[in-house]
């Protein structure tokens, strides 16, 4: 099938296309520069055209979601949409059903989403849920930061062994890249404890979070994985945590980037908003966004996503189990906790972010400060750490806040607790994002950060993942506060979402359902070392896991259809 999207206003930051009137041509699922006369013409005159969105960090599939749905039936009843001839029924607001997750991303014009935290032991279930999510390709990241074998390799300073282990475990879990969550902290949680800062060792291990992040980052570059180390640092959500954040980023500053990757960074810091708090307690808490943004402005080895608070009743779910317990103690609502054997732990609670609550207002303002203080939009990505700071369906609302300082002022003056004004610099920041910035932080930058060469842009050879929005950028003043609701509305229901050259959304409605592909990284060149490592760790595996190794791996039928990223680590 061939298409030509005619006369749209195109934003493609990867190729410095900023609002040019251009045709976009599609053939056999790819962007091309020429189509035959048979090409179907889609008239998108004056409308906003971008590559489909790419999400660098969300929680959409796997055991945490499943526990969330079981534990929050009251969330499932929100967002109920009856089935149609094409779509299944939808349920849920912060933890939607699998099919609803796919439809909702697709309606926003997104085509690729990273599932940010897969415990390898539960990877099968993650892939099962990905199979049930339509219309978005998913790049799952496996958790390594509290894995006993990892801690062992780090303790012995055996990077070669660690590299072989990571390489083997990505194959076993069929994951795309590596994620670290509160390194050593979730292991400490097994003893009812946490770690504080990057130099505090996990009990009984004598290994610190800083050492784990550094070793895994070195291994990441040794192997040349497409995505960099993806870190949720220690001390999430604690007042005074920003030095820990900078310390984590600085611990890998001298790690040399693998020459074969397309990304610029060696470390991606996720939901940075939760890691930029000053002060010493919630009494005197204030923003720590400025020093962190300053560090990022000066250091190109770092990228981040924000984890913007959206003022919703949502669900927090993370492998940072000790933090979830702290949060539970603060909120007094309900709490679920999981132990993932040798790999990690996790926790889950409902949370209500209220604009009138001082702490929530502060969090909201810090997130926006990061967007506005980090100069290069290629270093910062729009996320809500969905559903932790808010559900992903709020991305269009965040866009409206970024595009209008008048809207932000209106909120600061009338809607949000004064901590947002008094304890952050947000009120003094009048920078606004233009459509090019929006395209950068929602598609081009996340694709590049993830190392996805064929996504996030509209160059020849790219996947034909395209979004068209029913707005005329040339005739629309996005800076006007009263237009914020228009942006939210329009960006929430794409005029077209095209996935691999097929129209899946038209006029905000799902018109076609296609299976999502499982993206995984297959490292070659480490076969001998992998064999040896597996032999070495097998006694410990057999002793402590409740499953047999034979049943541990994700079999191929769990990842159909898949996209395999073959990496030659010997290169």
């Amino acid at each position: 099938m061939e298409y030509i999207l005619k006369n749209g206003i195109v934003y493609d930051p990867t190729h410095n296309v900023t609002g040019d009137r251009k045709d976009v041509m599609i053939k056999d699922g790819k962007i091309v520069d020429n189509v035959s006369s048979d090409a179907k013409v889609l008239d998108v005159t004056d409308k906003l055209v971008m590559a489909a969105g790419v999400d660098v960090h969300a929680h959409i599939a796997g055991p945490k979601l499943c526990v969330g749905r079981l534990y929050r039936p009251e969330d499932s009843r929100a967002g109920v949409v009856p089935k149609t001839d094409i779509t299944r029924a939808e349920t849920g607001f912060s933890i939607p059903s699998c099919s609803a997750t796919g439809y909702r991303y697709s309606r926003m014009g997104y085509g690729t989403v990273t599932e940010a935290a897969v415990p390898p032991l539960e990877a099968k279930h993650t892939h099962e849920e990905i199979m049930a999510i339509p219309n978005i390709d998913v790049s799952p990241l496996a958790l390594f930061g509290n894995n006993w074998f990892v801690l062992q390799f780090v303790k012995k300073n055996d990077l070669e062994g660690l590299a072989a282990f990571v390489s083997a475990w990505l194959k076993l879990s069929k994951c795309y890249g590596m994620k670290v969550v509160n390194p050593c902290g979730s292991e400490a949680w097994g003893w009812g404890m946490n770690v504080h800062g990057i130099d505090d060792p996990a009990p009984h291990w004598d290994v610190t979070g800083g050492e784990v992040v550094r070793a895994l980052t070195q291994v990441n570059e040794m192997l040349g994985l497409p995505h960099s180390m993806h870190v949720h640092p220690n001390d999430l959500g604690h007042p005074g945590n920003y030095p820990t954040t900078i310390g984590t980023l600085d611990a890998v500053k001298d790690v040399k980037k693998n020459p074969n990757v397309i990304r610029d960074q060696t470390i991606h810091c996720t939901h940075l908003q939760f890691h930029c708090y000053g002060g010493t307690s919630w009494r005197d808490a204030k923003s720590g966004a400025a020093p962190v943004a300053d560090y990022i402005n000066k250091n190109k080895h770092v990228t981040c996503d924000v984890g913007q608070v959206t003022f919703d009743e949502t669900t927090t779910m993370t492998a940072d189990a000790p933090m979830e317990y702290d949060l539970y103690k603060l909120s007094g609502l309900k709490w679920a906790n999981k132990d993932i054997e040798l790999e990690t732990a996790s926790g889950l609670i409902p949370i209500i972010y209220s604009p009138k609550a001082p702490v929530n207002a502060l969090q909201w303002a810090i997130g926006l400060e990061l967007f506005l203080l980090i100069n290069d939009p290629w270093q910062v990505v729009l996320t809500t750490d969905s559903p932790n700071a808010g559900p992903f369906i709020r991305y269009p609302r965040i866009m409206s806040w970024l595009m209008s300082s008048d809207r932000r002022t209106e909120m600061l003056e009338n809607e949000v607790h004064k901590w947002a004004t008094k304890r952050t610099d947000l009120a003094s920041l009048d920078r606004v994002y233009d459509w090019s910035d929006i395209a950068t932080v929602t598609r081009s930058a996340p694709a590049k950060i993830l190392g996805l060469e064929q996504r996030g842009h509209l160059g020849v050879g790219a996947n034909a993942d395209v979004a068209v929005y029913d707005i005329e950028p040339e005739n629309f003043d996005a800076t006007k506060a009263s237009n914020a609701s228009v942006i939210e509305d329009v960006m929430g229901r794409a005029a077209y979402t095209i996935k691999d050259g097929e129209i899946v959304v038209k006029d905000g409605k799902i018109v076609k359902v296609v299976p999502s592909r499982h993206m995984w990284t297959n490292v070659t060149g480490f076969e001998e070392q992998e064999k040896k490592v597996l032999e070495d760790i097998m006694p410990m595996f057999n002793r402590y896991y409740t499953v047999k190794f034979e049943n541990y791996k994700v079999f191929d039928h769990y990842i159909d259809p898949a996209i395999e990223f073959k990496i030659d680590a010997g290169k």
Binding site: Y71, R72, P73, E74, D75, R77, K334
Partner: protein
């Protein structure tokens, strides 16, 4: 005033769902409108006329002018009075699940027994059940920690398990006996039980009032005796006789009060 009478002529073993047939939606319906209406059953809809004879008399300006009479065995009719804000519904028979759930105003009277979830998350209005109710009367939705917040439920018969879970306002009167965990997680509101109670009223209650006029078989450990009171005045309600007052549930730092009839609970004196 408009009187709408639906008389059951065919019983469906698969439940009919009546959430659309409340005064708020039907006040301006003619007989014809009812005859054209398809009622949800399972995963489909069938004509209401398959199951009911319909009579419509008089006119209504709004839901407050509507009286709906449901004659016959409604034990397979769910969601009667769901989210109604005004008007009156009378059921001359039993009612199925969720009668008066999420009710905001008006009145619902059931001249029979009702199934579980009567008055779930009720915010206002009144429900009267002449017979018994099953489990979760006046509770929250499953998983939800915000329960019934207003209105009055009066049950002349017995109530089942977990009456008023997470109640945060309103009043519930049970004439007969009550099963386990009445007023669990409650934070505010008033519950009065005329008969005996099996076990554990007020588990994890943070505040609010529970009065038990009959015998309680098993009291939770988290309740502290605060003495005996004669003819106590509890939130403006004058009780007669001797009552033992407890404070709890101290397991959650609760400041709720639980009043037990002293004569019926001599073992606790």
């Amino acid at each position: 005033m408009k009187t709408i009478t639906l008389t059951l002529k065919k019983f469906s073993s698969i439940a009919l769902e009546f959430e659309e047939l409340i005064p708020d939606t039907v006040y301006n319906w003619s007989k014809e409108d009812f005859e054209n209406y398809q009622v949800p059953i399972g995963n489909t809809r069938f004509p209401l006329t398959n199951y009911f004879d319909i009579e419509v008399e008089g006119d209504a300006e709004g839901p407050e002018d509507v009286k709906m009479i449901l004659d016959g065995d409604m034990s397979r009719v769910k969601y009667i009075g769901y989210r109604m804000t005004a008007g009156e519904i009378i059921v001359n028979g039993d009612a199925d699940l969720q009668a008066g759930a999420e009710m905001i105003g008006g009145s619902l009277k059931i001249n029979g027994n009702a199934e579980s979830y009567v008055g779930r998350e009720m915010r206002g209005g009144s429900i009267e059940v002449m017979g018994n109710v099953r489990e979760y009367c006046g509770t929250s939705y499953i998983g939800e920690w915000r329960g019934m917040s207003g209105g009055v439920i009066k049950v002349h018969g017995n109530a089942g398990k977990q009456l008023a879970d997470c109640m945060s306002g309103g009043e519930i009167y049970i004439g007969g006996s009550c099963d386990i965990l009445a007023g669990i997680h409650m934070t505010k509101g008033y519950i009065e039980i005329g008969g005996d109670v099996t076990r554990w009223p007020g588990g994890q209650m943070k505040n609010g009032t529970i009065v038990i006029k009959g015998k309680l078989s098993s009291l939770l450990e988290g309740f502290e005796n605060e003495g005996i009171f004669v003819d106590p005045d509890i939130e403006g309600k004058q009780l007669t006789g001797k009552y033992i007052k407890y404070k709890g549930d101290i397991g959650v730092n609760g400041k709720g009060s639980l009043w037990l009839n002293a004569e019926k609970n001599r073992n606790l004196l």
